[in-house]
């Protein structure tokens, strides 16, 4: 039984080394030329509680989970039951555990999957310094058919600094696990890796966002930590320094957003990253960036809401605040990566757009993109840079910072440019920037700020469009992965359908979407929010053709391909 994709969960109590095993499996798969994807889950405890590494290995690129897991391997059973809802399995599945690993959780038993024992503890005792998690790694590698070389290579590299003894013990543990696997009930083995010319990358979505930021030219970052946005900042801290840039830890989000407004005003492309509660604190100053036309980028990594909500889980429920959370009429950019790897592209593009259009850009990532890790083909630099239109030559007359150009974009001077001094203002102003409450100035500046976003040529990047047929699935962000997979199955089952995943959420692109949906009779809208925020947004701004259905539900559980497939299959 070979498969093109196999899904495995490692689980166990705090200290069992679940994440290490998962990370090594991912790296080993990547080195063997397979694609791998991993999310993590942990208990309520701050640190050191039970944990689960949910993995998917595949012969083709993969950045989201399957419907169910083929293998669950528990290093012990301590509290592993709490992950049950996150580990769907069928009777085909295989549950592996240590008979000495504590009481077997009912909820896991209820799945009706096949069971087999691995005596991790006992086996580990038999090896000097033997480690149960490495035995588990070996067992899984053996089950799915990962080459021993790849696994041992990763083990050796990871433990390089831990010394000879640790390395030998781990190697022996992995080998023991692999040997043991031979006697285990069969589970799907991965088909041979498709030849990869390049070496794959192992990266998280948050790291990818950081990479996109520096590729785009970000050289100043202000930071206030918040789960799950922190790692964007943590990746940037040392890397910005290497590029001659700077990261400042701020006292709060009010400070961080205003620091980046200041740095950008001074001419340095600037960014911060946050999550819902932090974004909420930033909206007043996002409006300042819009009104003063100061480019900034805010990466918002969404988590479960409202309020403090569910910080460690994913949801697409900050769409409303990202689109509409600013007071007054404050048009700005909202860009949403629709895969882990796309966090790099979308962030870079947003940085480029923010500077090109002199406004605020919000990048709407989410926990499931940001905190997941995958092996991916190295993403080429698409070349987008933060480049501003600046005034040229000597200032002849008094500088009109907010001159009402046809494009809506006005040349922006930065401190140091002699003769171009002006005062940026969040008060409504005339072309010079002088405060004005005149109706003519207000409407001219409102028009200009709207126009510059509307008339810009965003090329093909506003959405990812795939397939054809008179059914379309409209989605955005992280649900794109499962939608894509559902559509593959739908097509395999004889259906025809399109995928439209909108990357440029704001400004809206009604003509482009109409073209993308031409000939469509049914539209299925898919999103992960309780309030159907995306669907409401579509209704507000677009005319969707034919009959429209909305499939939406909140987190914390990811939306699975079969949920979407069923929507399509049942729609008759």
């Amino acid at each position: 039984m070979t498969a093109r994709s196999v899904s495995i969960t490692f689980a166990g109590s705090g200290g069992a080394g679940v994440m290490t095993a998962g990370n090594m499996l991912l790296d080993a798969a990547g080195r063997a030329g397979w694609y791998a994807y991993m999310t993590r889950s942990s208990g309520a405890q701050i640190r050191g509680g039970e944990a689960a590494a949910m993995m998917r290995l595949s012969t083709s690129p993969v950045q989201s989970h399957d419907d169910r897991f083929d293998v669950l391997v528990a290093i012990d059973w301590q509290n592993v039951g709490r992950f049950s809802a996150e580990i769907p399995m069928t009777s085909d599945g295989l549950v592996l555990g240590d008979p000495d690993g504590g009481e077997f959780p009912e909820q896991i038993g209820a799945k009706g999957a096949r069971r087999a024992d691995i005596p991790f503890k006992k086996m580990a005792k038999e090896i000097e310094g033997g480690r149960p998690n490495m035995i588990a790694l070996g067992a899984v590698a053996g089950l799915v058919g990962l080459p021993e070389d790849a696994v041992l290579g990763v083990v050796r590299d990871s433990l390089a600094k831990k010394g000879e003894a640790a390395r030998t013990a781990s190697e022996a543990s992995v080998r023991a696990g692999m040997a043991f696997a031979a006697g285990l009930p069969a589970c799907p083995r991965l088909a041979a890796a498709e030849g990869q010319s390049e070496r794959l990358w192992s990266i998280t979505g948050n790291e990818a966002a950081g990479l996109g930021a520096v590729r785009g030219g970000i050289r100043f970052v202000a930071a206030y930590p918040i789960t799950p946005g922190t790692e964007v900042l943590e990746w940037l801290a040392p890397n910005l320094a290497k590029l001659g840039g700077v990261l400042v830890q701020a006292e709060d989000e009010l400070a961080s957003i205003n620091q980046i407004i200041g740095a950008s005003y001074a001419g340095v492309p600037s960014l911060t990253a946050t999550s819902g509660p932090g974004l909420a604190l930033m909206t007043e100053s996002l409006g300042l960036a819009v009104a003063s036309e100061t480019p900034i980028t805010v990466v918002n990594v969404m988590r479960g809401g409202p309020s403090t909500g569910i910080p460690v889980k994913s949801e697409q429920s900050d769409l409303n605040i990202a689109l509409y959370g600013l007071h007054g009429d404050a048009p700005h950019l909202v860009v949403a990566p629709n895969s882990l790897a796309d966090c790099a592209f979308s962030t870079q593009w947003a940085v480029h757009l923010a500077d090109s259009l002199q406004t605020a850009a919000i990048v709407l990532s989410d926990q499931s993109l940001g905190q997941s890790r995958a092996t991916i083909a190295p993403p080429a630099d698409p070349g987008f840079r933060a480049i501003r239109l600046m005034p040229e030559g000597e200032a002849a007359e008094r500088y009109r910072r907010y001159t009402n150009t046809a494009s809506g974009v006005s040349p922006m001077a930065v401190p140091g440019m002699k003769g171009y001094q002006y005062t940026a203002d969040g008060l409504e102003h005339n072309e010079y920037g002088t405060p004005s409450s005149a109706a003519a100035d207000h409407s001219a500046q409102l028009d200009k700020r709207l126009r510059k976003l509307a008339v810009h040529d965003y090329g093909q990047h506003w959405a990812d469009i795939e397939g054809d047929g008179d059914i379309a699935v409209l989605t955005w962000g992280s649900t794109t992965g499962p939608v894509r997979e559902a559509l593959e199955r739908f097509r395999a089952s004889g259906g025809r359908a399109r995928l439209v995943s909108i990357r440029l959420i704001s400004p809206v692109r009604p003509e482009q979407l109409a073209a993308a949906l031409e000939g469509v009779a049914r539209v299925l809208v898919v999103e992960q929010s309780h309030g159907a925020q995306f669907h409401r947004y579509l209704r507000a701004h677009y005319d969707l053709p034919g009959s429209v259905r909305a499939f939406h539900r909140p987190g914390p559980l990811p939306i699975r391909p079969n949920e979407i497939f069923r929507q399509l299959a049942d729609w008759s």
Binding site: K242, A263, L288
Partner: protein
């Protein structure tokens, strides 16, 4: 602190814009505008090398009346904007300015953390013990028994905020108090504040003639500080905690190193960074 030797020389007028202030006739802030432009002229800093940032309030309207690079931000956030500018463009002379409400009420947290962070910039607060712009409410520096605000008709009943004491406790590197009525003296204080490395804080008593007409009497109440500025925080604390609020002059000079993240001399390319991802 900009190099002053090679610069052309400027007059105060070179730092003023054509924009007519919205201030009431007699407002103390006119004179502060004069002092700032005089200080810049004294230091001969090219106008294009100065960034002047403010929040919201009557006093915060000041940047547009100058001819330097200005930023009139939102209420209470002048200091973070100034921080972003200075840290990313260390060669600029950065000044933040605003009112007592802007700086000590809504902006109080940034004030403390800016003192602590000690970025090389100057913060000028035009203190009139009132929210002028919103028509006369009590600010943190208002006396507890001032009953003229409709919002607190019995007075606030709250101890006033001591900006200088807080600045010191939080770690400001230079602390001075001035009176807007003394334009030249104030210009001198601002000059010294700009010259001093690190975070310099200047509290300027600047009367609001409209909502606090009694502040016209401040001219008779201010007096020069009796002793020279100290560099001992503990001694300065004792002095500031017991001063009468009208002591004018430089009151504390610290010698902490300003915060300025070091930039690596040899800079990597983005492609270099990507290596960490390769399996």
């Amino acid at each position: 602190m900009e190099a002053t030797s090679t610069c052309p020389s400027y007059s105060a007028r070179d730092y003023k814009s054509e924009v007519k202030p919205v201030w009431c006739p007699g407002c103390g802030d006119y004179s502060v505008l004069g002092s700032i432009t005089k200080a810049l002229a004294e230091l001969s800093i090219p106008p294009e090398s100065v960034a002047l940032v403010s929040g919201i309030g009557c006093s915060s309207r000041l940047p547009a009346y100058t001819n330097v690079f200005g930023f009139h931000g939102v209420h209470g956030r002048a200091l973070p904007i100034a921080t972003g500018i200075k840290v990313s463009r260390p060669e600029l002379t950065v000044i933040a300015s605003g009112g007592d409400g802007d700086g000590f009420s809504i902006g109080g947290n940034h004030f403390m953390h800016a003192c602590r962070r000690n970025v090389d910039m100057t913060y000028i607060v035009m203190d009139n013990e009132v929210y002028g712009m919103t028509k006369g409410q009590a600010s943190p520096t208002t006396a507890p028994d001032w009953e003229k605000s409709k919002l607190t008709p019995q007075g606030t009943g709250i101890n006033p905020f001591h900006p200088l004491v807080i600045a010191l406790a939080a770690g400001a590197n230079f602390i001075a108090r001035g009176f807007s009525g003394d334009q030249n003296g104030t210009a001198q204080l601002i000059t010294e504040a700009i010259r001093h490395p690190g975070f310099s804080f200047v509290q300027l008593l600047s009367p609001c003639v409209t909502f606090r007409p009694e502040q016209r009497d401040w001219k008779d109440m201010v007096h020069p500080a009796a002793v020279d500025p100290t560099d001992d925080p503990a001694r300065a604390a004792r002095r500031l905690m017991t001063d009468d609020g009208f002591n004018v002059g430089v009151l504390y000079r610290g010698s902490r190193k300003p915060f300025q993240p070091e930039r690596q001399a040899s800079v990597d390319s983005v492609a270099d960074l990507e290596k960490e991802f390769v399996l």
